[in-house]
Subunit: 301 residues, 2 copies
């Protein structure tokens, strides 16, 4: 395995502050593991972090679309420049190249500790399977959504998002920080084992595959006119079947799920997604049998 | 009693959205009480609400300091103009005068359902005592803090804040909404009873009197360098004694409460107060014997 450097990003969204503190704490605590892999810890969006907001001009975690080299003209959108900077600096062809990117996020939804991967890259499967095997974490496989592209980790050959909630924006929560500390340590352990060929992949990977998102009920002016139904609140990853309540609107009318397909919802009521017109996303469960090729591809990184 | 009109304000902070929905729902539901009192429901800061932020230029709930008449020049701060508008419109000498103002807020701190009053106005005591008697709610009496002035309800002859948490900014929570609905109904019931001389005050009022606020540990650059200690998280209203942990900083050092006076903390870790350099506020408990004069003053409104 040729992995030399791994990028750990916190604060890609400036108001998700617990990962930033977790990284600070992690760096302070004794760290005995060292198999020749260097870790680069960076705050994704330091300006937004300073201001306590998600982003300045645009969502950084949707800004990794067309990366340009340093020499090209500055964009008027701060996050486009920041995405360019991060890739030019830490991307696989950057000045301090990292082979893997781990992006640490929090959500206001009750997702617990979960993993998000983008598309079906074997290298990501490998890392995700190891973490799932260790902790039983749910994995959200995001794919085929034209409205949602340009995620940070997609700009690296291997990478995943650690998504932990529920926690409010800008709110420090020691329990959430502890969960990040456990994940960061474990990730480093697993990668060290991989580096030393000490790893055995679990037989399968269970993923929740993105099927699309739904919006809140809205009034004629386009304003949100419905709440997540109490039966749905905090029920991320819990199956929904036809007839189950989704929202109730300002007229007291209950809006129900009306399709036959069973679905598992995620990011229920995520505050930051209101502007994206997402009240929750739908997923379906899929079991993927693991393949030796996953480790081989990972080793070729 | 001469109370004719009561102002119910939600969304004084634009990202505290549950009260806005509660009022919407309250207006929709059947409402049989009507003893000749009119209720005026208004969104305090509609522009901030639309943008999903606490305020545009400055905290509206600190902007009721020097109210000017309509004819005077516009201020460059949106919230100053808005405060002027609200008082000119709904103040005791306004065009649609209201004698009482009830201001509905949420907090990210684990305060439960609580009441905030400003100073020791007997009319407020009267209303607060009735609510406390009904629900056992804790009351935060805010006074003598030069750094915190210009609260909305202070611009009315009688008024109080209903403060409910913990709930994240911009996050709809049906449980929080239900709590507001209960309080709004009860307030209306109690005021109707007062209007019909059906009220008997409880013997005493228990208040938590503001003693000051403390900031987070900060580093040499002035950045926050410590978290609320896990033993303190969500422990609003719970007594602190000398030696109890308050924070732990990035060096892992625990900062402890070092005074002899017993204190009861409130607004622990409130997200919106970071910019005010408040990690929590200290209160002391005080029991005030109720007096007939409270009702008399209320009746003279």
């Amino acid at each position: 395995m040729t992995v030399q450097r791994i990028l750990i990003v916190s604060g890609t969204h400036g108001n998700e502050i617990n990962p930033i503190w977790a990284v600070k704490q992690f760096n302070r605590e004794a760290n005995t593991l060292n198999y020749g892999i260097e870790y680069e810890y960076i705050i994704g969006n330091p300006v937004a972090y300073e201001k306590g907001c998600r982003y300045i001009d645009d969502d950084l975690n949707r800004s990794f679309k067309e990366i340009k080299s340093h020499n090209q003209q500055k964009n008027s959108v701060y996050e486009i420049n920041r995405a360019n900077f991060l890739v030019n600096q830490f991307g696989i062809n950057g000045s301090n190249p990292c082979q893997i990117a781990i992006d640490l996020h929090t959500t206001t939804a009750n997702m617990g500790t979960s993993i998000v991967i983008y598309g079906r890259r074997f290298k990501d499967f490998c890392l995700a399977a190891l973490l799932q095997n260790k902790f039983g974490l749910p994995i959200y496989l995001h794919e085929k959504d034209k409205a949602q592209t340009g995620f940070l980790v997609e700009a690296w050959p291997c990478g995943l998002v650690i998504e932990i909630g529920a926690v409010a924006q800008n709110f420090y929560d020691p329990k959430i920080i502890d969960r990040f500390l456990i994940i960061i340590s474990s990730l480093r352990e697993e990668i060290d084992k991989l580096k030393n060929n000490l790893i055995e992949l679990p037989k399968e990977l269970v993923v929740h595959v993105h099927q699309g998102s739904i919006d809140y009920p809205r009034d004629e002016k386009g304003d949100i006119d419905g709440l997540i139904h109490p039966e749905r609140m905090n029920q991320d990853w819990k199956i929904i079947k036809k007839g189950d309540p989704l929202f109730f609107d300002s007229q007291g009318i209950i809006h129900r799920y009306d399709r036959d397909q069973l679905i598992w919802p995620v990011f229920i009521g995520e505050v930051a997604y209101k502007e994206k017109k997402i009240a929750m996303s739908y997923t379906k469960k899929e079991v993927i049998c693991s393949e030796k090729q996953w480790v081989q591809e990972f080793e070729s990184l």
